[in-house]
Amino acid sequence: MTEGGRAASPGDENRAASPAGRPDQSRSSRHGRGLSRRSLAGLLFVAPMLVLFVVFRFVPVVGAFWLSLTDYRLSGRWTFVAFDNYSRLLKDTLFHESLIVTLTYTLVFVPLTVLLSLGTALLLQQVVWSRGFFRGVFFLPYVTSMVLAAVIWKWIYDAEDGLLNGFFGLLSLGPYDFLGQAATVLPSIAVTSAWKGFGYSMLILLAGLQSIPRSYLEAAMIDGAGPWQRFRYVVLPQLRPVLFFVLVIETIGAFQVFDLMYVMTAGGPIRASYSLVYLLYDSGFKFFDFGYASAIGLMLFLVVLVVSLIQRRLVGRDD
């Protein structure tokens, strides 16, 4: 259940308002003489989703804050502990380690996936021949699950009979234990993740590239700009907002990494790939320390919030 996409901008709220051509109804509701037929219909139409939303989205969000201030246990017994969970987090080396793992992974994954999706988008833009076919090929891994990617790539990386070491063997190199060593485990997982997901950002960037007016590039060409100069001084500045959107979406996604680690390495070797969400999962479902796990969840929320706010700031400054 990923909810990562771009939300509707609040600005187009006004567009949705119904026309002002029904004075009778708006008057009746304004004076509070019961609900008009329209209002009642509106409420009834919204009701099923609203009930689901309040119970299964709003209650858990509020619940997460509340739980993080308690020592809620599996038995259901709890006491209010104020900020104890948070001060525990500050001292917990597991939390520090998982934070470093998640940051390292993000620092490897985000540039990798953005370069890969920008590169393929530029290639698709340049090569007109069978564009649809290649776009489909690059997008294919995106419709599969993280678990599938993890299962296939775990075998690809396998030290004994994996695909990659098979090829290295032909060159009389290796074998390398990609997932078994602290130095290579996170880059290896980042490669898998980039393979699985770059098709999404590629599509966004391709749409961005195609919206750059042709005349800009032609003007630059007439002025004698080479391919690199056209890219650097025309394409890149035009692409900036889209590139930024992709960067933020991928960063937020990277901070939530879990599935790949769970399947490929179980967090190992010796917690070298033990991510923040992995710690949350273990705290909740291995140690049943629900209050503590909720505090970790809120830390994750904080990170996502900060990244989104930075995006708002930087993109806002542009316009």
Partner: protein
């Protein structure tokens, strides 16, 4: 200009091959004879066999997991499309008390990552006695604000005159919705349906915590458990090939819908 003309297509083809190799490898390993020669040693299996598929289907609960994944995905698609279209219609075309507040509440929760509410959602489901049941698996994931947004965006583009004319003709509210709104937003429903299907079919964390017995696991969770047990790699890959089939089907039939809507709306599966 000359070398560039050759370099770029070559690069494109190479990238495409690298992208596709893991899938090809999965298929080759899944069809290779159960014992002995696998990939690096023999690139193409010496003989093709369905043996791994038969083995993994008989020793694991894949048939049951498939049913669970189908229930999880299809029920969600149906209910989310219906409820999101209804809510989207109300937000786009109706005035009612609390509308702005509700809409902003929907919007605000989009910022909260699902993992941040994993624990309270689980406790809620366990209080309801829904752990390890279809109810627990499906119902909490139906509260999908993104679907509501998307439907609201599409429906607000429909001209108001349509609804006014129907109202004057005395059509009931439900009839306006089912006979006018739903048919007009069919393309949006199709697109959203694909996304909701993929979200649920590929979902892992929620089914992992809710499906505690082997009987209640979905295909993704089951595949992960095959991997962690000592199941031979040929069988794991056969299982993997089975799980990816519906996604590939959706992809093959509806790729255009999917790619166009991502380019347009930035919706993320």
């Amino acid at each position: 200009m000359r070398p560039a003309r050759l370099t770029l297509p070559t690069l494109l083809v190479l990238t495409a091959i690298v992208t596709i190799v893991p899938f090809v490898a999965m298929v080759l390993v899944a069809f290779a004879p159960p014992s002995g020669e696998t990939f690096p040693n023999a690139f193409i299996p010496s003989r093709w066999t369905w043996q791994n598929f038969a083995n993994v289907l008989s020793t694991s609960a894949i048939p049951r997991w498939t049913i669970n994944s189908l229930v999880y995905s299809l029920v969600s698609v149906f209910v989310i499309l219906l409820f999101a279209a209804m809510a989207g219609y109300a937000f786009a075309k109706k005035r009612f008390p609390g509308r702005e507040l509700m809409f902003w509440a929907f919007l605000a929760t989009l910022m909260v990552p699902f993992q941040a509410t994993l624990i309270p959602s689980y406790i809620l489901v366990s209080k309801l006695g829904w752990v390890d049941s279809y109810w627990g698996l499906v119902v909490p994931t139906l509260a999908n604000s993104q679907a509501v947004f998307m439907m609201r965006q599409f429906i607000s583009q429909l001209p108001d005159e349509l609804f006014e004319a129907a109202e004057i003709d005395g059509a009931s509210e439900w009839r306006i919705f089912s006979a006018i709104v739903l048919p007009l937003v069919r393309p949006a429903l199709a697109t959203l349906g694909i996304f909701v299907f993929l979200w649920h079919w590929n979902d892992f964390l929620w089914p992992l915590v809710i499906g505690q017995s082997a009987q209640m696991q979905t295909l993704t969770v089951g595949l992960a458990s095959l991997q962690s047990e000592a199941v031979p790699i040929n069988q794991v890959m056969a299982g993997a090939a089975i799980t990816v089939l519906p996604s590939l089907l959706v992809f093959g039939l509806l790729q255009r819908y999917l790619t166009d809507s991502i380019a347009m709306t930035g919706l993320k599966a």
